[in-house]
Symmetry: C3
């Protein structure tokens, strides 16, 4: 009983550090007000979403209503939107007591990140030099969602170990870094990366891993009891997995060129992901003595194929090529969970809650390499003369670029994304190490209790299994009389 009281006291004293009643509201308000001001100064509707569109249409001799990018992109946008909020959110609900944090903080940082992304991407990609305004349309929203994805990937590495305030700071810097590396890779290097193997997954993966390294907690084992899943939390996570898996073809094709490009990106991603599932299951089964499957692999590694085809999905990689990429990604990603993650934790001191190294970082790098090779191997016989120009956008300043050079720039792009991830993550990690952000104590990690008002579970269990427990309670009281025990259960009741 002495131990108990002591434990309770410690518990509450540690709680104090995680009080975010001041910081979280302040950060939310300050940043939201900043967004409003910046949007007021910079953001305007583009011509297709402006009420003057009817005049623009008349001026440009557009007769069909459907000639508005809205109808080409909106279904893809909604699929991507579902991936960001339900896909990423529920994928991370696998922990037994961190579902609120997984889906709730995912919600918070995505909502903030997409606003900041519209500004950052706007300044870098579409600032109108004459008016000084950023004109946004449906494709801007897709790109903002993409940008946010990078930060949500990074969240996977630090899941359960940081406070929401830290997550908002991480997102602010993550989006900023993303916009810069994206500008360098897509505009300066003129690399192609429609589904973001490099720009999104490689960057996001290494950004998160690097932050996690800096925030290394040597005593994380103290919250080991919370680090597992329960049956229903694993089932919730499958909602995330499946929505990511199903809509990944939309992700990789969302901002690709109209027509054959989008069409091809969907076919390639669809096939690649199907192939990944089979090899993931095979390796997962091989890893256990009796051939049982591990939910961690099914939830995550099945998605690696989509990541690895992010760059090459729009290329003429051919259907069997897509299957081959998926084949190896399933193997490598599952092997990663079995062998590499424990190694990273022990040797490099990288604690990677969701295994983003296996799901995003490694497959992202593979995707970059596949993209570089496929680009370098492209030929006029396969693409057609105009098809080659369209696919790689060999126009303007880049109209004389050869496919071999393009392959080189693709590889260069991948290096840029890794460097931005690692270096950026290290710097941001150092900022997040400051003792002002309200992060949880080592023994309270992976526990929603710290940042969420939790429902009173005890009462529920009394509801759902009343007869036995009630009877037991009854027995207990009888028992007490019988044995004259003066142990009092109330002291430890939370």
């Amino acid at each position: 009983m002495g131990n108990c009281s002591q434990g309770c006291k410690d518990y509450f004293s540690r709680q104090k550090n995680t009080n975010i009643r001041l910081t979280l509201p302040v950060v939310c308000f300050v940043w939201q007000i900043a967004m409003i001001i910046l949007f007021g100064v910079f953001i305007r509707y583009d011509e297709e979403s402006d009420a003057h569109w009817v005049e623009t249409k008349a001026h440009d001799n557009i007769t069909s209503d459907i000639e508005n990018d809205f109808y080409f992109r909106y279904p893809s946008f909604q699929d991507v939107h579902v991936m960001i909020f339900v896909g990423f959110g529920f994928l991370m609900t696998f922990l037994k007591r961190y579902s609120f944090g997984a889906v709730g903080f995912n919600f918070l940082i995505a909502s903030f990140g997409l606003q900041w992304a519209l500004l950052m991407q706007g300044w870098f990609h579409s600032l109108d030099p004459q008016t000084g305004k950023i004109f946004i349309g449906i494709e801007s929203l897709i790109n903002a969602d993409f940008c946010v994805a990078g930060c949500l990937i990074a969240y996977g590495a630090v899941l359960g170990k940081v406070s929401p305030v830290q997550l908002l700071v991480m997102t602010l810097f993550g989006v900023t870094l993303f916009a810069v590396e994206e500008y360098i890779i897509l505009n300066l290097l003129h690399a192609r990366d429609a589904g973001g193997s490099m720009v999104i997954h490689t960057f996001g993966g290494y950004y998160g891993l690097s932050i996690s390294r800096v925030l290394y907690r040597p005593n994380l084992h103290q919250s080991k009891r919370m680090q597992g899943s329960v049956y229903h939390s694993d089932t919730f996570a499958m909602i995330g997995t499946l929505f990511l898996w199903m809509f990944w073809p939309s992700f990789n094709s969302a901002i690709t060129d109209h027509g054959d490009g989008q069409h091809r990106a969907v076919i390639n991603t669809y096939l690649c992901l199907a192939s990944t599932v089979l090899t993931t299951v095979a390796i997962s089964s091989l890893s256990q003595k009796t051939g049982k499957l591990d939910m961690v692999h099914i939830q995550n590694s099945t998605l690696a194929g989509g990541v690895a085809l992010g760059t090459a999905a729009e290329f003429m990689i051919s259907p069997y090529g897509a299957l081959i990429v998926g084949f190896f990604c399933g193997i490598i990603s599952t092997m990663g969970y079995i062998f590499i993650s424990p190694f990273l934790e022990k040797t490099l001191k990288i604690q990677d809650t969701c295994g983003i190294h296996n799901l995003h970082a490694m497959p992202g790098v593979i995707g970059g390499i596949v993209g570089a090779i496929t680009a370098a191997a492209a030929s006029e016989s396969v693409y057609g003369k105009q098809g080659l120009i369209n696919t790689f956008d060999f126009t303007g300043d880049f109209k004389d670029r050869t496919v071999l050079t393009q392959g080189g720039y693709q590889a260069a792009g991948m290096c840029v994304s890794i460097v931005f991830g690692v270096v950026g993550g290290a710097i941001v990690g150092s900022i997040l190490k400051l003792p002002i952000w309200g992060d949880p104590a080592d023994e309270n990690c992976f526990d929603d209790e710290v940042y969420w008002e939790l429902p009173d579970e005890e009462e529920e269990h009394q509801e759902s299994i009343p007869p036995i427990l009630e009877y037991n309670n009854h027995m207990i009281h009888k028992q007490q009389d019988l044995s004259e025990s003066n142990f009092s259960v109330e002291h430890c009741e939370s």
Copy 2:
């Protein structure tokens, strides 16, 4: 033991009132047969979905297959459909033992309501005077889903306190009232309300609150043990929240004019909702001593921005304008959960299970006001001459209307929706008060047990935690021998 038997007897005697074996099937059959007859008399395919379309196309010189409203609206329709069935359904699963009722009765009343809505809206909006028929297409289905949304909002106020028969009656009258107020607001007053701030949310909110007031249960505290959530029920509710949140841009743009109108409605709603999330989190965190977040706020108040932009989403409110609306809605709605809901319950005797006053009624009114102001402030310089005409549909009888007048009619529309909600709800509530509908006793509210065959949970718990409990059972029997207790647990086992 005497108490126990008495309790059991009371339990079963109370159960008798909730026997709906006669009423529910009868109501379902009668209403479905009525639907079949009325559809046979009135409903026909419109020309775009009729097999004569190939001739109509030839006659109208339409060459492209895509010139069929199906391709402009179907993706939006499906998003709205998901909101109605998964969004509303799962949003209400938060109670620990009312998930079946939440998602199941939502399913039932939506399925009935949409049929009745097609008829009611058809009679008021698209009855062909020559043939006496209603011609339906994809936009009719969207409107029917919209109409049903009003009743599902009202369901939120009475969740757990009414029988499915009452819900069907409530839906029958709700859809009827909806069609009338919609006709008055959109056709007679010629107000614009694409996303239904007034027509759907304000009406639905006050309709439900008014019914809940009439059905006030002074002894509802008797089922207080069932009124909370459990960990996984809160996670289920987040499925509903997220699908509503993600697809709200589709909701607000689904029936807007093709092209720039839909485009703009999506951008505005997307931004407004993102802003709402941040201020909801801020206020929720402020409301607790240690800054913890409350799932009730995250599940509900994050959606208030979508409601509040229902009218103005298609207007040129500008991106930062949308952010500002979201900013204040998050604050007001969360404050509503903290301060206004308890006040309403204590002072006005309105028991509002899901807090629809904070999520629909208040933000709906805000949306009406925002719409009126934005309309009154519209100018040719912002919209363009033709853009202004298109956006506010200043054609036909209304071609000379000014934006100021339009603002006035918008405000008038909002008053109409409030009056219909409050008065209609009071009348329907009185009907539902009749003692023939099989509603649950005060101590059985919020309990699926009353209307659903529930799985035998006890067995499950024996499965999942067998060693300890089985051992306990074992101990119990040993114990009984030991203490000669003749207490018999069987008497109370359900």
Copy 3:
């Protein structure tokens, strides 16, 4: 205690049979490698997804980007995709301890099946005689998903009673049989079946029932304790139900002719399903003494209307006709669960875990009959001359076919699908009866424990209801001292 040890020994000896560490990885690898080789030989992009599209467009004078089937079909494809993976997967999670198997094996066999389907359907339907290649586009992906649906339906009958290796074998043969019967029905008989009442549901239903008959387990009652649901598993299943229900209009319209055909298929399916919900609720309520609803009916029978309109959805069945079909399907399907399923199990020895006879087989046959009658009753006055030709594709070899003949061929098609299902299932069932596939023992059916690494639940329950149980544990130990019991609980702890 002697019994206990014996039981434990038996348990582990039986476990040995289910070791799939060799077979599952081998099958996955062999089949995936075979897919890669066959795709390399046969599968190519079709012209709309090939990079030469820009030249094809120029050649064919196509000016609008939107004239690519991608934009007509992709939103429908994604809805169908969600039905296959989330719909079917989650619908089967209702069992208390088979959610991983339901959603995980569904994922596995769908991923394999769709690859094999692309090949099989390609060889039968779209093998280019000149090049010997199969050219795939977005419609091929939809058809592959459709084909897989047949096998997932069959999975419903054997859910929990087979190993993943058996499922893969079942899928290999199932897809093969599907492609043949589909070729006979759609191409040789020239029957119409856009939503697959016959081709998908009747075939899949009888295929699964026939396999289940061959694999009959007389001692299945030994795992009766696992055959029920728990509260949250039933809620998970509703996710599957609702996504199937909402997207069924997309399913029935996905490969229908552009324009009026798709438009009409959506309207009909939407109405039919709404009607089904009401009669399902009515019959479910009638079946219980106090009118309570049964989740099994709500989860399954509400979908029967979509199945039954699979053939006739694109016909001019008229809105009230769709309501009537739904009306009777809800009644028949729910009655099936109440009366026919127990009869099938007792008399015909068909153990049908998910009741696919009531959800797919019977409604599929109804759908075939409705289709035949509606086709035979078609007239030029209703369809228009060209509309009739378009709807029934009376072109080429079939340009002189009358609607009456068409009705006959529709009926013939249904018989073909039944024969393929029953005979094919019997043969495949015999193969699956071989004792090499690692299927579970009778007492381990419906238990994820056999094929999945499960989280350590006990620990969780100690987390969530610690005070009482911990106290009980405490009491137990005190108790042991008291009564000198030397019963040791450790022996049986899993």
